[in-house]
């Protein structure tokens, strides 16, 4: 174990196993990061013009061809990767999935991605949604960033609380001036209007948004007792149901909700991934990160 790995282990605490499994799983397919890239990369040559700084001259080309050309480099700045972790009551739901509750899965994924981001030289910061106003986090790189991430996103779901999406978006827009990658980990059980405004505001502020929606398999398949009084994890609501008679209608509502989220993401160009605590997130995350890496390369080529 390298010192770095030891530090990470210390920093991740209880999350270590799950996060590490994710990180290792992701790395087994090659180097991936939420945002691939180094600090400074060659871009293209262009002819020298009077007034250009001589320090940008490509002397090797001048030596070979006696032509004055400038080496045009593309400076890649450090990226801030911000994690927004939904810790509302509904995230505490789990149905004995191998990855625990929705919140546990989301936390592990967040920390794994943070580790990868720090490893790629980016800075990370994280918030838990319910108490977002009281948390003041500045993106940092390295172990400091990871340590800070553990502090801010290492809690547990807030029992009985719901997420105030408008307040969170207001906070993010005002607190994060620099365009960043915002990774949202939530089950997204909010009204359509709130969701649309929330993501629209983030995108409007120039942030890149990655949405990792965690829905438990029981929620997706409506696996509940045949007769039950369903109690809301986010409030005082309760309702008596007979699962058989309600199943189709519930699944229809869920499908409508998911379709709506899909529409928003397509419209706002947001990457959207659904994670289930019953299944390993690694394959989906790997595909996602490869997709993003390919997207960045393509963008770089076009640029």
């Amino acid at each position: 174990m390298t010192p770095d790995q030891a530090a990470l282990r210390a920093a991740f605490g209880g999350l270590e196993l799950r996060a590490r499994r994710i990180v290792e799983g992701l790395r087994s397919g090659g180097h991936v990061s939420p945002r691939a890239g180094g600090a400074v990369e060659f871009d293209r040559h262009r002819a020298y013009q009077p007034g250009d700084e001589l320090r940008h001259l490509d002397w090797k080309v001048f030596a070979r061809s006696d032509r004055l050309v400038l080496k045009h480099a593309r400076m890649e700045t450090t990226l801030d990767v911000l994690f927004l972790l939904d810790d509302s009551g509904s995230m505490a739901f789990g149905s004995n999935g191998v990855w625990g509750t929705k919140f546990e899965l989301a936390t592990a994924v967040a920390h794994a991605l943070a580790w990868l981001a720090v490893d790629a030289g980016d800075r990370v910061a994280g918030w838990q949604c319910v108490d977002v106003q009281s948390t003041s986090t500045t993106p940092r790189g390295g172990l400091v960033g990871l340590s800070q991430m553990t502090e801010s996103c290492g809690g547990s779901p807030s029992e009985g609380d719901a997420v105030d999406l408008p307040a969170i978006s207001r906070m993010l827009v005002s607190a994060v001036q620099r365009p960043s990658l915002i990774i949202v980990l939530s089950d997204l059980f909010a009204t359509q209007d709130e969701l649309e405004r929330f993501f629209g505001r983030l995108r409007h502020a120039g942030h890149d948004v990655l949405l990792l929606q965690t829905i438990d398999g029981a929620e997706q398949r409506f696996e509940v007792p045949e007769e039950a009084r369903m109690i809301d994890l986010e409030g005082l609501n309760s309702v008596q149901i007979q699962a058989r008679s309600l199943r189709d209608t519930y699944l229809e509502a869920l499908e409508r909700h998911q379709n709506f989220i899909g529409d928003i993401c397509r419209r706002l160009q947001i990457e959207h991934l659904v994670l289930d605590p019953h299944q390993s997130p690694i394959p989906e995350l790997r595909r996602l990160l490869h997709r993003r890496a390919a997207g960045l390369s393509a963008a770089r080529t076009v640029g």
């Binding site: 009551g89 509904s90 995230m91 505490a92 739901f93 929705k102 089950d187 059980f189 909010a190 009204t191 829905i215 438990d216 929620e219 997706q220 398949r221 509940v224 007792p225 045949e226 007769e227 039950a228 009084r229 369903m230 109690i231 809301d232 994890l233 986010e234 409030g235 609501n237 309702v239 008596q240 149901i241 008679s245 309600l246 189709d248 209608t249 519930y250 699944l251 229809e252 509502a253 869920l254 499908e255 409508r256 909700h257 998911q258 659904v274």
Partner: protein, 634 residues
């Protein structure tokens, strides 16, 4: 003994049986409680979706239930529509009567010489009708009928046409049937209103029956023709016409008939006595008993009385005089006086036989009560003879009296007339107004035109209040001017006679309660006669018409009260006819049948179309919802 033993044995085992029974009853309950599923408390994350699903499921259930009902209704409607077409040829020719006006007035109960009564014939017809379908029976007297009609007792009053016809109209409303079958001996009316008919341009030859003709009248009155009486518009035609239709063919048309109307009862002109040629006898519809099953449609285009028929009869007991206060328009009373039948009647029942009859016009009384100088508009038909009241009026209200000619058959007569006399009358009223006289008295006797006058005069004359005199009740209620406060207490009456006064044939007004007046409906009148005249056994009954009246006389009885109930009704006026027409009463030839099956079929066809459209829309909604539910993947 063995029975006793058995009972004892059962008694001893009773507690045991009780326990076993209780346990047996509890078994289903215990099973239910044991197998009942326990409700599990289950914490759930996606509560938002769950609540949405619960709400949506409720809507879907409703939608599906609606769809089910619509789909169930479609074949029913289709069957009904087809059934209507199928049965159209079978049932359309049959006449269905659903509302029957049953004449339960006293005349129908008079026993004929051969022993039968009109009411019996009515009930026979009614029983036959009931075999054809449900029948709603309305009493002509307006009273509620007993369930068993054979227990029906005669009502000591005349027909209450207003109540009965409105009740019948309520029953026909919405059924599409506008005809009402009248089972009557057509004797419900009383004496003809000669003045009314003359004013309407109808020639009347009327000879009151002599006493020795009474038997003949009775003999021919007991019949039970079926008749449909429908009001027309007398004012547009200006004549009275009655057609008898038998089996759909015109049997006869008569234009010289009696309109039996001296009671002022609403629609009482529908009650027709049939005159046979030039005979002076009053005869009924010439229907022998054997023809009672023949449907006769009597189309009556009635005239009306422009003159009021309200009258008051007063009896002064102590002086053995009877004072009639009448508007003089009731030719029945004139006739009665002419033939002295009333004298005869009274004398026959009077202890001393010394009663005399005086006729006093209420106009006299009112004119006497009028303050001098009050402007007066008089609209009275020319049939009124010159009486003391008109001369008094002229004397007391010289310069302020405007006498309008009697109205003709055109109900719009008033406007041009008033406009013609406007300047002159305005001058008179204006002169009075300077003396701060607040009101004008309008002497008139026709409530219909009076409403027009009341509506028009303020426009013409400004703020002058108009009242009319003939309708005593509103006059008292209105109490126009101080002069009528005293009138409301009838000082004139008291001045004329210092004896108790019996007021009959007029609705009782509360303000009269302090007076030495006693209301006298038929029953009370009988009691009074019994008590005061001491002729208990000789007062047979009060009755509703001359036939009954004469019948009573013939039976050694006395009848003084013509028709108290009927007299309380509003006299027939254009407004009444219009009201009835607006309530759906039309001439016989317009519609005499219930809706045919064909009509009903069309209604069901329309309903079917609507239902099919509804089914299509609902099914689409449900289908869309079901297709939405089809994919469950997230």
């Amino acid at each position: 003994m063995s029975q006793v033993n058995t009972m004892l044995a059962v008694g001893a085992q009773l507690p045991l049986l009780l326990i076993v029974g209780t346990v047996a009853m509890a078994i289903p309950l215990l099973v239910h409680l044991l197998i009942r599923r326990r409700t599990v408390l289950f914490q759930w994350g996606a509560m938002q979706l769950l609540l949405e699903a619960v709400q949506r499921r409720g809507r879907m259930r409703l939608l599906r239930l609606l769809l089910l009902l619509v789909r169930m209704a479609i074949p029913v409607c289709a069957a009904a529509a087809l059934a209507g077409v199928w049965f159209d040829g079978i049932g359309s020719s049959s006449k269905a009567w659903s509302v029957v006006l049953l004449d339960d007035t006293i005349g129908s109960f008079v026993e004929h010489n051969d022993g039968h009564r009109a009411i019996d014939a009515h009930l026979e017809v009614l029983a036959e009708l009931k075999q054809q379908g449900p029948v709603q029976v309305v009493a002509l007297s307006g009273r509620p009928l007993p369930r068993a009609l054979n227990t029906l007792e005669p009502v000591a009053a005349g027909p209450n046409w207003s109540t009965a016809l409105h009740a019948a109209a309520r029953h026909t409303q919405g059924t599409g049937q506008e005809d009402v079958l009248l089972l009557s001996d057509l004797r419900a009316g009383v004496l003809p209103n000669e003045g009314s008919l003359q004013a309407a341009g109808i020639t009347i030859t009327f000879h009151p029956p002599a006493v020795d003709e009474i038997d003949a009248v009775r003999m021919t009155q007991v019949h039970a023709p079926r008749a449909v009486l429908l009001p027309g518009d007398p004012f547009e035609r200006g004549h009275l016409e009655v057609e008898l239709v038998r089996d759909g063919a015109l049997l006869s048309r008569q234009s010289t008939v009696f309109l039996l109307d001296d009671t002022g009862a609403e629609l009482d002109e529908h009650v027709v006595h049939w005159r046979s040629g030039e005979s002076t006898r009053i005869v009924q519809l010439p229907l022998p008993r054997s023809t009672t099953h023949t449907v006769f449609q009597v189309r009556v285009v009635p005239t009306t009385s422009p003159a009021s028929s309200r009258w008051i009869m007063l009896k002064q007991q102590t002086s053995a005089e009877i004072t009639l206060i009448s508007d003089a328009q009731s030719s029945g009373f004139d006739a009665a006086l002419d033939t002295s039948w009333l004298d005869l009647a009274v004398q026959s029942g009077s202890p001393d036989g010394a009663m005399r009859v005086h006729q006093v016009y209420p106009q006299d009384l009112l004119v006497e009560a009028l303050p001098s100088g009050m402007p007066v508009v008089v609209t009275v038909p020319g049939a009124i003879p010159e009486t003391t009241w008109s001369s008094m009026l002229t004397r007391k209200h010289a310069g302020q009296t405007l006498v309008l000619p009697p109205p003709d058959t055109d109900s719009n007569w008033l406007n041009p007339l008033l406009k013609a006399v406007e300047p002159e009358f305005k001058g008179a009223v204006g002169a009075v107004a300077k003396d701060k006289v607040s009101g004008a008295l309008l002497l008139a006797d026709d409530l219909g035109p009076l409403e027009l006058i009341r509506a028009e005069l303020p426009t013409l004359l400004g703020l002058v209040q108009i009242e009319h005199m003939m309708n005593l009740e509103p006059l008292v209620e209105a109490g126009i001017g101080d002069a009528f406060v005293s009138f409301g207490q009838y000082p004139v009456f008291l001045r004329l006679h210092n004896a108790p006064v019996v007021v009959s044939a007029l609705s009782w007004h509360p303000t009269w309660s302090d007076l030495p007046l006693r209301p006298a409906g038929p029953v009370l009148l009988q009691e009074l006669l019994r008590a005061e005249l001491g002729i208990n056994e000789r007062v047979v009954r009060t009755a509703s018409g001359p036939g009954d009246l004469y019948a009573g006389m013939q039976s050694n009885g006395v009848l003084i009260q013509p028709d108290a109930t009927a007299a309380q009704q509003t006299p027939i006026r254009p407004s009444t006819v219009q009201k009835l027409q607006s309530a759906g009463w039309t001439l016989a030839e317009i519609s005499t049948t219930v809706p045919t099956h064909k009509d009903i079929s069309w209604m069901f066809v329309l309903a079917l179309i609507v239902l099919v459209i509804m089914e299509s829309v609902l099914a689409r909604w449900v289908d869309v919802a079901v297709r939405h539910t089809g994919g469950h993947g997230v």
